[in-house]
């Protein structure tokens, strides 16, 4: 299994990352070496192994439906790159 430059460019687009042609080359190589490393698992016989849906064998972790104090709005907006009195501001997204 080998990733192409187009695959990486597509993932970068979906993640809204701007990547230069040089970086695309570099990331494709790096990602492929990660994929190859993980691909070693393919050598194992897994026919009788149940698919794993979670890394830890714990089930049914819940909290009670109890309401607590919200963050003060000022605190919620504190780290926003762009904001006004009451909201986060982002470049307009056309519907």
């Amino acid at each position: 299994m080998s990733l192409t430059i187009d695959d990486v460019a597509k993932v970068a687009l979906l993640a809204r990352l701007r990547v230069s042609p040089d970086e695309l080359q570099m990331f494709t190589g790096q990602l492929n070496s990660i994929m190859d490393y993980v691909a070693q698992l393919q050598q194992l016989e897994t026919t009788d192994v149940e698919p794993l849906s979670h890394g830890i064998e714990v089930r049914n972790v819940f909290r009670d439906d109890v309401r607590g104090d919200p963050l003060p709005r000022e605190a919620a907006l504190l780290n926003a790159p762009k904001r006004n009195q009451e909201s986060f501001l982002v470049p307009a997204v056309l519907e």
Partner: protein, 491 residues
């Protein structure tokens, strides 16, 4: 025009919890922007979601009520997309192992005899709601994350619906069921119930069936909009097919938005590569195993649902399907009120009439709930019994109920105070009957010559007798004495 209409709905329902699905802040509608957040809803680094048990149980309750099969094992997945309505850049949702499978919604029978049957469910899963974006000046959008993280049920139906009226009916039945269950308030205006509709046509021509391209309609903000948008869209698709002949094989599914003001659907920009969500299992939440004991408790918590209640109102009280439906579709509190009045009087049909005509009209006019209606079921039952026993006629009963609503007093007191005793004095009524007949010789003449229907003439004369007695005459006695008088006059 020979075609079948194929409609499927995609419905989102906010579940009624105190706190959000994965964190502690509240879920109230209509608060100022960004005053209902916490570090988890903001997607701040280092935070971890913890599942709200109530949210999961409400979802289970809904799925059981919709006849779905509950999965013994379910897990959560990340739906990855980059959009500022969720700051984590993914939505916690369910992909390959949702908590339920199958199920159906009853399609209500329509007045014209259409409808009926079932609309199957493709899937029901639990996810988190997203924030809201509003356009602002200067090429910017405002992001309000109050809604982000509210538990949301996604319900996708099979394409089993065959008309815009049935689409609306199906959605109304779903809302009624969810309200009976108490899992959601289902206010379309407030967005706690949202619906998109997928529609296309199967056109029959020369023994062939041609399917038109599927259109998804968004922006449906009311039940009326669902029906109207579908009616519009069906006509548009048919005309378009006649113009360009494009079928489902030639064109991909498109999205159109309904404009309430213009009553048209308009093309919407597609989210680019929207389908590539790269789902993967959510590592921050562990799976859920729903055992039989838990499911049994959920089942026990479900009361009588609308469909069962309609059936019972017909079988236990002998109501017509129409009457049973009117009482049930008003909501649980009205149906409970009817149950109480019907059982207290034993006069099932009368109780239904009084509630449909007088009680419902009053609560609608005064914009109150049944809980606020000042006449308790036992007090209305007492009034109905007095009318039934002939102590009062129907008009007097109506007046007294009006006074009971105003004053909150029981019928007994209003009758004593207001001189409402019905006149049951035979001689007095016989005199009034004699006078009415004597004063209206033309009526007897019409009856003799068969110019008018006997019932019409009798009705007129009964009215005259009532007028003379100030509306207080015992209607049964008036009827009896009038019959006797007319029989005598016609000899």
């Amino acid at each position: 025009m020979d075609y079948d209409i194929i409609i499927g709905l995609e419905i989102h329902v906010q579940l009624q919890t105190e706190s959000k699905m994965f964190s502690w802040c509240g879920t109230e509608f209509g608060l100022p922007p960004n005053t209902q957040t916490d570090p988890v809803s903001l997607g701040l680094p280092g935070t971890l979601p913890v599942m709200n048990r109530k949210a999961f149980e409400l979802a289970l309750k809904t799925a059981v009520a919709l006849h779905a099969e509950i999965a013994p094992f379910t897990k959560w997945d990340r739906k990855n997309y980059y959009y500022p309505d969720l700051p984590k850049n993914y939505q916690i949702s369910q992909y390959d192992l949702p908590f339920s499978h199958g199920g159906w919604i009853a399609i209500p029978r329509r007045k014209d005899g259409g409808g009926g049957g079932r609309c199957g469910l493709t899937r029901v899963h639990l996810e988190e709601d997203t924030g809201k974006l509003m356009h602002a000046a200067g090429g910017l959008s405002e992001v309000d994350l109050n809604r982000a993280g509210i538990p949301l049920l996604e319900i996708v139906t099979d394409p089993d619906i065959r008309s815009p009226a049935d689409a609306r009916g199906c959605l109304e039945e779903l809302r009624l069921t969810l309200r009976y269950l108490g899992v959601s308030d289902c206010e379309m205006q407030e967005g706690s119930l949202r619906c998109d509709a997928n529609v296309n046509l199967h056109i029959h021509r020369d023994g062939d069936t041609i399917a038109t391209p599927i259109v998804e309609i968004k922006n449906l903000n009311s039940f009326r909009a669902v029906e109207k948008a579908l009616i519009y869209e069906i006509e548009r698709q048919y005309k378009k097919w006649r113009d360009d002949g494009l079928t489902i094989k030639d064109a991909a599914k498109t999205t159109r938005g309904w404009s309430d003001a213009e009553e048209v659907t308009k093309p919407q920009r597609e989210k680019e590569t929207a389908s590539d969500y790269r789902y993967f299992p959510e590592p921050d939440l562990v799976p859920v195993v729903a055992d039989l004991a838990w499911l049994a408790r959920i089942r026990e918590s479900i009361g009588e649902l609308p469909a069962a209640r309609r059936d019972r109102f017909e079988s236990e009280y002998g109501l017509s399907p129409y009457d049973a439906n009117v009482l049930v579709e008003q909501g649980q509190d009205v149906a409970d009120y009817y149950d109480d009045v019907a059982r207290a009087t034993g006069q099932y049909k009368l109780a239904s009439n009084w509630i449909q005509q007088d009680v419902l009209r009053t609560i609608k006019e005064k914009k109150m709930s049944v809980a606020e209606f000042p006449v308790a079921p036992a007090a209305l039952a007492d009034l109905i019994n007095r009318v039934e026993r002939g102590e009062l006629n129907t008009n007097q009963g109506r007046e007294i109920l009006g006074r009971m609503i105003e004053t909150g007093d029981p019928a007994e007191i209003i009758i004593e105070m207001g001189g409402y005793r019905m006149v049951s004095d035979r001689d007095q009524i016989a005199a009034a009957v004699d006078a009415a007949v004597a004063a209206n010789p033309q009526a007897i003449d019409e009856l003799k010559r068969g110019k008018k229907k006997p019932e019409a003439v009798k009705g007129f004369l009964r009215g005259q007798v009532m007028k003379q007695t100030g509306g207080k005459a015992n209607p049964a006695l008036v009827g009896e004495l009038l019959e006797a008088k007319l029989a005598e006059s016609l000899q």
